[in-house]
Assembly symmetry: C2
Homo-oligomer: 414 residues x 2
DNA sequence: TTGACTTCGTTCACGACTCGTACGAACATG
DNA sequence: CATGTTCGTACGAGTCGTGAACGAAGTCAA
């Protein structure tokens, strides 16, 4: 569709302001609070321009005057002489993004402000078959609460474990929730009170993408430019974040990694084919390799992968054969990571989900695979890390994703 | 480096003009010639704005009045009544991009105008060890010729078979040319006459990236949104183009596909490791599988992969065992394509290099692998095609890459 | 305490841009 | 030849970023 290339709003003068406003916000986020003069220096904008932009932002509640304690100037400078600048910081709770994560047994909602602070955090459990109702209720409740607190809710992002068509706002398939072709954006929008929904954009995303975003903005990968996130549950999920933006490839490739032809072909995958990666590194494969029977791995190993993996880690402490099994899975994990990393070239790989409890055993194996498997190990160092965010990471990432629009100048502030 | 996020020129009013100018150019390129009024309708810009922009473009030589024969209106409309519009077309040779391709025995230079027409095409052979001299000479000659013809050379792109650090303008390693850490941009810039080089940007790129670009803009993949290009020589090269833009992933991943851990691990790769994909689908592997001895595959099979592959194709016509060998390689090719396609989700895979002469044998095998290996075959149709561009594709793509800057509004026209 | 010095934030005139309206130009139809 | 319709441009209005100028708010030295 060639029209897509021409598409997008025509660039008017107010787009200018949006873009430069976003520029100022990014400077404040990435390089810390600063006086107007310093922001001007950092962004290359004229002092006068920064002045008007900051004034606007103050009225919007996006920034506020920093606490009395002045921030140190750019390091190593001679002591300040002259009129001291009044530092400006990203504001407390004026502008927020709301993220909601759908899971098999529960929902998590998180709201972040521009400074990345958690403004709201809530979790509710759901009954099977009633996820959509609960989701609508939770979202509108959170939205109402935030608005009541005086926040400007820029958007809502819903993280779903499944195949998502973000551009159409549809969940194509979420097997664990038994969802197929759900018009989720419409569902949520209709649940929100009318007045706000005009400005407040509702979107859908894959949960692995969101978790990746969370790692890159709030987790171990904060400050890393190219982050690959890989999460293990019954299947596998992946997300790739470059400079704070989720890479969606062609039409949103993430989450598909589980069915890449990596590893042995002896097991049949749930998708009907053989040789899928997740048949060798998914949770069932791990339990099998570790010699742990399902009923020994907690009451509902597939519903609670973390508990199951913790049980495996426990046994591995005393049983060498369990350790060997885990390492064997780790080698296949490593092969896949090398493949993906070779293609995407991340600076850091973050392992999440059930890999975390088994991290001490898995990480060295994956690291070794990377050392042996990547070219030019001089420049292309790729660090392996474990997720530290735990439950609710996806909702945090979803909220972060919403704020991306603000920092990119896609949306205008009130 | 957080500063990268803040970087980029501050957005002034003339950036506005650049962006809208680019918008008009894209409309003319993607949706064909049109009157000012129609362009206004297509871009969403005001008629007056389009008028001034077109006037500017005319003075720059970027567009010109279309031939007398008026273009049919948007199809199906009632017959035109009212003053007929004067259609505008992308101009003949006012604005051009120059692409130069470095190969083992020869150089190719191609210049394209905004309409995608070839304005200049030249090929010279080189002596081993003197490639850089020849490259400097050819580039400056072509540049001078274009300038003399009155063209505005927007930029020069050099396609190199090797690892390239595009942002630093360096060739990190080009084994076939025995180049290591060559500051190619500097080399070329110093060879160009001074006056122009201020505006005329010189850049370096990987040749597979450029070929991919060529396929997406001029080849079989024209009009396809997500294109994966895969070329076979002694090693392998790949490029991924989304909506006319080369995807460089983290720090420029393309070209690395040859060393992904795909296929058997029985052969040792030139990089010193085992299990690299190119040990199973590179040209040597193909010759081996087809049972063709090197000295039977043309005088210099590795220097002329196309001739060698043609020889193999010839033999396959009569010899069933050769056909079987080719198909065997094809299956490994298919496995890799499925892996990459599963991750990147292209709408079309274009095979180039030595795969082309063997296309009739290879394509069905790869197609079958894709049918069996990709999820959700309903939506995610992925077509396999053969490159038709032949020699010099990379230089064409390099020239295309230069023009990207114009269509993106990154550079201003004179 | 006072005056010189330095830096910060704002004000103002200016140029560049896009937009909407208005108007003349160019063609078809009856 | 009058009418209707559409095209392209001219003009005033509104917005935005910029540089210079200026008052404000500190430090430092005498």
């Amino acid at each position: 569709m060639p029209e897509a290339r021409t598409a997008g709003r025509p660039v008017t003068t107010d787009a200018l302001r949006r873009l430069n406003t976003a520029r100022v916000l990014r400077s404040l986020r990435d390089e810390g609070p600063a006086s107007r003069a310093l922001v001007a220096q950092r962004t290359g904008l004229a002092k006068a321009t920064v002045g008007t932009i900051v004034a606007h932002l103050q009225r919007s509640g996006a920034v506020e005057d920093a606490p009395a304690v002045p921030v140190a100037r750019t390091s190593g400078r001679p002591a300040a002489s002259g009129r001291p600048g009044r530092p400006v910081t990203l504001a407390g709770a004026g502008i927020v993004g709301l993220g909601v994560e759908v899971n098999v047994g529960y929902l998590t909602a998180t709201a972040l402000d521009l400074a990345g602070r958690t403004v709201l955090s809530r979790r509710v459990s759901t009954e099977s078959g009633h996820e959509l109702e609960s989701l609508r209720a939770l979202t509108s409740q959170c939205w109402a609460q935030l608005v009541q607190q005086g926040a400007d809710v820029v958007g809502v992002d819903i993280a779903v474990p499944g195949l998502v068509a973000r551009d159409r706002g549809m969940v194509v398939a979420a097997p664990n929730l038994h969802w197929t072709d759900v018009d989720l954006v419409h569902e949520i929008e209709s649940a929100l009170p009318q007045p706000g929904s005009g400005r407040c954009r509702v979107r859908v995303d894959n949960d692995a993408n969101c978790s990746a975003m969370a790692e890159a903005t709030q987790g171990v990968a904060r400050g890393v430019d190219h982050v690959l996130f890989l999460t293990g549950t019954v299947g596998l999920g992946a997300g790739f974040v470059v400079q704070g933006r989720v890479q969606r490839g062609g039409s949103g490739f993430a989450g598909e990694v589980g069915h890449l032809p990596i590893g042995g072909a002896d097991r049949r995958c749930a998708c009907g084919r053989r040789g899928c990666w997740e048949t060798t590194v998914g949770l069932p494969a791990m339990l099998r390799a570790a010699g742990v029977r399902r009923r020994d791995a907690g009451p509902h190993p597939m519903a609670d992968p973390m508990a199951a993996a913790t049980e495996v880690a426990q046994r591995a402490r005393t049983d060498a054969s369990v350790r060997a099994g885990v390492r064997e899975v780790g080698r296949w994990l490593g092969t896949g990571v090398v493949t993906i990393a070779g293609l995407l070239d991340p600076a850091m790989v973050v392992l999440g989900g059930y890999f975390v409890p088994l991290g001490p055993l898995l990480v060295p194996v994956v690291e070794r695979a990377l050392r042996g498997g990547l070219l030019g190990d001089g420049d292309r160092r790729c660090v392996v890390a474990l997720s530290t965010l735990g439950l609710g990471a996806a909702s945090t990432g979803a909220a972060s994703e919403v704020l991306t629009d603000v920092f990119d100048g896609v949306v205008a502030l009130r």
